[in-house]
């Protein structure tokens, strides 16, 4: 293969590689798209998990939450993950979610102003991770878990939100 042929083949393969990576890519999320995402889940109880690759407690919590998610009907309950990683950590986040078989869509926080983003979700939240926010079927915040939390307490909150109907 000549150098020219090799270059052409490499250039031809590039868009394919991008397309192949696309299904696993993390969707950027800001204040507005966060609100839209919560609204789109109305009718279901929604658990939002804020995590990051650098957060050991988040990495430990993720498989427990995914197991919890699997125990509920998809028609009643949804869980989304929002990575708080920096752009250079995004590939690591993607790989971790892939390994965990985390459901899509998978989000990554990309706000112009992180403080404004955190305040828009809950002014009392310092931004500490892990952070879980549970929304009821009407899209209202029902419970939150900041820092390391017991699976039993998360489960109890989900159970209550599911029982409340809406």
């Amino acid at each position: 293969m000549t150098r020219r042929h090799f270059l052409a083949a490499a250039l031809g393969a590039f868009p394919l590689a991008v397309l192949r990576a696309a299904p696993n890519a993390l969707s950027p999320l800001d204040e507005q798209s966060f609100r839209q995402m919560v609204a789109a889940h109305r009718g279901k109880v929604l658990l939002v998990e804020f995590w990051a690759t650098w957060c050991a407690a988040c990495r430990e919590e993720m498989p427990k939450l995914l197991a919890l998610r699997a125990s509920y009907s998809a028609g009643d309950f949804a869980m989304v993950t929002i990575s708080c990683d920096e752009p250079e950590q995004e590939r690591g986040a993607q790989a971790f979610l892939e390994k965990q078989s985390a459901p899509s869509p998978r989000y990554i926080k990309r706000a112009k102003d992180d403080d404004a983003f955190i305040n828009s979700i809950d002014p009392k939240w310092s931004g500490a991770l892990p952070a879980l926010f549970l929304y009821d079927r009407s899209g209202q915040l029902a419970a939150k878990f900041i820092g390391e939390s017991s699976t039993a307490s998360i489960q109890a909150a989900i159970k209550q939100a599911l029982a409340e109907g809406g």
Binding site: C55, E86, E88, D115, S126, A128, I146
Partner: protein, 227 residues
Amino acid sequence: MDGESAKANLCQFALRAGISNANPWSIANLRRWNSLMKHWLAALILFLSAGALATAQEYQVGSTVADFQVKRLDGTPASFSTLKGNVTVVIFISVQCPVSNAYNERMNALYRDYSAKGVKFIFVNANHTEPAAAVEEHARQHNFAFAVFKDENNVVADKFGATVTPETYVIDANGTLRYHGSIDNSQNESRVTSFRLRAALDAVLAGKQPPQTETKAFGCSIKRASR
């Protein structure tokens, strides 16, 4: 209060609760006493828990910071009153947290730049998972120009309401908390656009109000001791 007036007060109190004077020890009256005592016990518990909440109140910007104790890495005690300066920075840091570690160089630079201006720094490790020996080794590996103190049982972190590392507090000469939040706005130094702690320090040193008094500190959660 003498014995007689105490007795009179108790009678009045009993009458108000519907306990009649005719036969204070009748079954009906005993039930009322019982109910009365339950109410008072509930009120007492409420009062005591309100007191506990008041003492557990975390500092807010504008609060006066009371003296507190930390430990040097050799285990000897040190107090805020002896470590403080005209302007004091308290920074909660960690050995293992990648976000805290992303700030090691910046913290060294902050310490050098502002120590020269008379600012005192109290770097605190409140993670119960990180013993003094690990903190000492970490400081040595990263050539910290500053001392790190241990906050055993995270008493100081609780008082400040610190939840992550790194998380910073600026205290002025009067002991008033003037700034709380992050060092800057990005763990990646190349993307920093807002030097929040430096701006707060410059303002307080100049006798001015910091441009931002409260920002969101981001990082790893402080690993608290279970008490």
